[in-house]
Symmetry: C2
DNA sequence: CTGAAAGCGCTAACAG
DNA sequence: CTGTTAGCGCTTTCAG
């Protein structure tokens, strides 16, 4: 446990009695072969001096690094936390690491994070849908940084997202099978400002199922703090919907909590279906029925997509992931 | 949105009709002054070429970087997610960024992450209590990387943690005031393997309060998955404790959920007090009474501690943060 | 106030 | 198989 001053590749070369190039060949397994005995001596010297290469110098020489910029709306949101872990795991397996860019729900930071990615010369970027996808796509494209968009589509980007159509059909189908006819939606209403809105999919699914589509049953909720208002709207909606599909579980947890405070029973008065099948959704007041999908698959596939782009693949790819319904206590027979 | 090849500081110099040194002076505001008109020309050129400095080259020259390694046991745990956000915010304000090292509950990864920090030449490390603190402290010390330990103490490290003694007294005092006399503890029992165990503090607090200390009321729980067993033990403990102090809210949420499934009422049969005052603890089946403290203060203070060390301060510092009790539905009058 | 030039640690020709 | 060497882009003396 002594503090020594860092050894450089030259120190190793001297100790091993070889040139600095050979050390390089050994460390990188190439590009030239090294005699077994020499290699051994070098390895010894490395151990003896506790030598490790300097990434900065390497990068300067043009060798690709190993870090991926990760732009996430809010890591405190359990959904993003889960997904971050999945991405991290997938990346690690391939020798990469995450530089964390947590917006903390403050979209204004986005630009400065992108600039950070650029100066740091990250090898790629994974980005969630944020306020200004267009700026993001432009910036990364013009900076020639490979990237993939998660849970969003954009004509200029590779992306990955769940099968929204199937998800909406699943949710609607489940509720219909339970005898519900008046089904509400709680989530971002305005599709232009919230491209991630699930409203269009839910609407279409309702139509296809032959169920009524009522504008007053589309309750706007764009942030967690909207929950009290949204819950009130939902509970007092004209025509009394008996079920609601909520944009995600994080929202749903808050909605349920607020409904109960307002005296509405879940699922007694209102059945609820969320999205994302959060770990946390099992331990809430009323465990949530939810649209689930494999988070680790998203992680794995997104990374592959990204690294493929990093290797110079120019084709844009759009991946769609299958979903499944996880039934728990928040949805029950109508009536 | 065109893909141009990166401009170097020399391109800027040429376009501005100055030497590369001057560009450097402008970009870094020093170390030499630059005439206003020259500076203006340089700035123009930078804009025109969309120039940005290369961090790798800079680091190679010995200029400090701006990234901090962050070793966290499991980012999916809402507590760590909250704290990560707090650290990130505090760091950003000071121009630093987090390189995420999420163990994902797999301690075996620790060493390789530490090595990563070293090759990447991070400017500091923030580390939570993990399996092998000693190795961690040795490694970072001998690599001359400044670091601070969070929620742990070690003779060779600067550290920050909450006032465990006050916390235990608060929890015990609250329950005692509600008329509870038989108080259990759920958490890691074995202090050697789990240095973060709160058991000793709870034990001492019970003694000081003149309440009984019963070995059978100390229920072992070291991971989330232990919850079912721990809940059963707690519900069937001899002498029927009427309240329990649980190691943290994440555990407490699971314990409450399991107790209810077992037919025990919370707080009817058992009052529960947790630690950490998670956001999530407000929306669980029974909102939790919990020991709270300022997560942003921890973030801020830890960073200051770290940067002070980075500046060559050699004094080890141990910070202790105040706590407060947040009373919610999970604790009620005994009886 | 501005410029020339050395060199950070490393890789990869190129030449033995 | 091994060695020599030219830079990667930047900061910073040292001279003007």
């Amino acid at each position: 446990m002594t503090i020594r001053t860092r050894a450089t590749r030259l120190d190793v070369a001297r100790l091993a009695g070889v040139s600095s190039a050979v050390v390089s060949y050994v460390v990188n397994n190439g590009p030239k072969p090294v005699a077994a005995t020499t290699r051994h001596r070098v390895l010894e010297a490395i151990r003896a001096l506790d030598y490790y290469p300097d990434e900065a110098a390497r990068r300067l020489r043009g060798v690709g690094g190993s870090t991926i910029g990760y732009l996430v709306p809010d890591i405190r949101n359990p959904f993003f936390a889960d997904m971050t872990a999945a991405f991290n795991r997938a990346l690690r397996l391939r020798g990469y690491h995450l530089l964390l860019a947590d917006l903390g729900d403050d979209d204004a930071q986005e630009r400065s994070y992108l600039e950070l990615f650029r100066t740091k010369r990250v090898d790629g970027v994974i980005a969630w849908q944020t306020a200004s996808v267009n700026d993001l796509v432009d910036f990364l494209t013009s900076s020639a940084i490979p990237f993939v968009l998660v849970a969003a589509r954009h004509p200029g980007a590779s992306s990955i997202m769940i099968d929204e159509e199937a998800a909406a059909n699943l949710a609607v189908g489940h509720l219909k099978a339970l005898g519900h006819r008046r089904i509400a939606y709680v989530g971002p209403r305005d599709v232009t400002h919230h491209p991630q809105s699930r409203r269009p999919f839910v609407e279409r699914a309702l139509r296809q199922a032959g169920l009524p589509v009522n504008g007053e049953w589309f309750v706007d909720m764009a942030a967690l703090d909207d929950a009290p208002t949204a819950a009130r709207r939902l509970a007092t909606a004209p025509g009394r919907p008996t079920a609601a599909i909520v944009h995600n579980d994080a929202f749903a947890i808050r909605i349920v909590s607020n409904l109960i405070e307002l005296g509405s029973a879940v699922p007694g008065d209102l059945s609820i279906v969320g999205y994302d099948d959060l770990e946390a959704s099992r331990y809430t007041r009323v465990p949530l029925t939810s649209i689930g999908y494999s988070k680790s698959d998203i992680g794995r596939l997104a990374i592959d997509l990204l690294l493929r782009r990093g290797e110079g693949a120019t084709t844009r790819e759009e991946l769609t992931l299958p979903v499944a319904l996880v039934v728990r206590a928040s949805s029950a027979r109508a009536g």
